[in-house]
């Protein structure tokens, strides 16, 4: 039995089933942002490992082919960036200035607050990527000495917070411009925030979508240069 449970077959099948179950749950519950398919998928895999008393490293070894494809997905993110190129060029200056400030504030405020309360280097590095899309966050956090699982968790919580509270915060603080709303949702809340941004309007959604790739690249380059 244990030979089966420690085999790649088990790890890969478990991952696919957990993803499908997470997807199904997200759909039948009416797509609430806190029930992101990946959140329930991770919860299902994590719980299964705990119940069956399986080693995470054994599971990860078995599922390494799926983890490998994460790099492939990151490369594929070049496509949406290209598709948004026309919109980026039309608003180049405001976008670049906002991006320059936003990236520093997003990574700086989170790591600064965490540092003030006392922490270790790896946790700090995992926090630095909290506003960029998960595949990029995992690549970046791996290369600057953070923990990918922790980075994934921080990215998810950040995205869910932005999706859930972004709308009311924009209203209360008087932000009405679609480009401004979209940039805030996408630069800070990545893909999860973008799903919500499209519900606010197509222009808001488009700005949010283009913000994902820009923020990811900017943070990756910035952290790569700062933390060699």
């Amino acid at each position: 039995m244990s030979a089966i449970l420690t085999s790649p077959h088990f790890a890969i099948t478990l991952t696919l089933l957990a993803y499908l179950a997470g997807h199904g749950l997200y759909r039948i519950t009416g797509k609430p942002s806190f029930l992101q398919p990946v959140v329930s998928g991770i919860a299902i895999v994590g719980t299964t490992l705990l119940i069956l008393d399986l080693d995470y490293s054994t599971y990860m070894e078995g599922a390494s082919i799926i983890h490998f494809m994460l790099g492939t997905v990151t490369v594929a993110l070049g496509l949406p960036l290209y598709q948004n190129l026309a919109l980026i060029r039309r608003h180049l200056l405001p976008l670049m200035v906002t991006l320059a400030v936003s990236g520093v504030v997003a990574a700086g405020s989170a790591t600064g607050l965490l540092w003030l309360t006392g922490t270790d280097h790896a946790t700090l590095m995992s926090m630095a990527t909290k506003s960029i899309t998960t595949p990029m966050a995992i690549s970046v956090t791996e290369s600057i000495g953070g923990y990918p699982p922790l980075a994934t968790g921080f990215v998810m919580v950040t995205g869910i917070l932005v999706a859930a509270c972004g709308g009311p915060i924009l209203r209360i603080t008087g932000v009405t411009h679609p480009a401004a709303k979209g940039c805030a949702m996408g630069m800070i809340g990545h893909g999860v925030g973008t799903t919500r941004a499209f519900e606010m309007g197509s222009e808001t959604g488009a700005f949010s979508a283009l913000s994902i790739g820009l923020m990811g690249l900017y943070t990756a380059i910035g952290l790569g240069l700062l933390m060699p």
Binding site: A11, Y19, P37, V38, G41, V45, L50, Y56, M60, A63, S64, I66, H67, L70, G71, T72, T74, V75, A76, G78, L79, Y82, V97, V101, S102, A106, T111, G112, L113, T117, G118, T119, M127, K130, S131, T134, M136, S139, V140, E142, P149, L150, T152, G153, T158, L161, V162, I169, L170, T173, V175, A179, A180, C183, A184, I188, L217, I221, L225, P228
Partner: protein, 114 residues
């Protein structure tokens, strides 16, 4: 599986491979997949959007993007003690940090787009 999907996947994997090769250069600040993404983006710009196989392959990968971070994310089961120990700092960074960055971004972009 249509052969064009395989061709598209091969093209994307090729960019991932070039990214990995670039990562080996000493002093390279970017992880391989990110360099690969930049190169794939430049390829799309140069070819005026690339061709159907790689666009289809990329779209399929992106639709199911969340599947691919389950293995890394599940590692959270090994980090319970760390999360407990730093619960306050992590909660503060995620909530207050996100609020500060969100409000700054929205207002700066609104001001610049007047």
């Amino acid at each position: 599986m249509k052969s064009s999907i395989v061709a598209g996947l091969a093209i994307i994997l090729l960019f991932q491979l070039i990214g990995l090769a670039l990562e080996q250069i000493p002093g390279m600040p970017l992880p391989g997949p990110i360099s690969g993404m930049i190169l794939f983006f430049l390829y799309l710009v140069i070819t005026g959007g690339g061709y159907d196989p790689e666009r289809d392959a990329a779209r399929h990968l992106l639709i199911h993007m969340a599947l691919f971070y389950i293995p890394a994310g599940a590692g959270i089961v090994t980090l319970g003690a760390l999360l407990m120990e730093q619960a306050l700092g992590i909660a503060l960074a995620l909530t207050l940090g996100t609020l500060i960055a969100f409000v700054t971004t929205a207002h700066l972009m609104q001001w610049l787009s007047r």
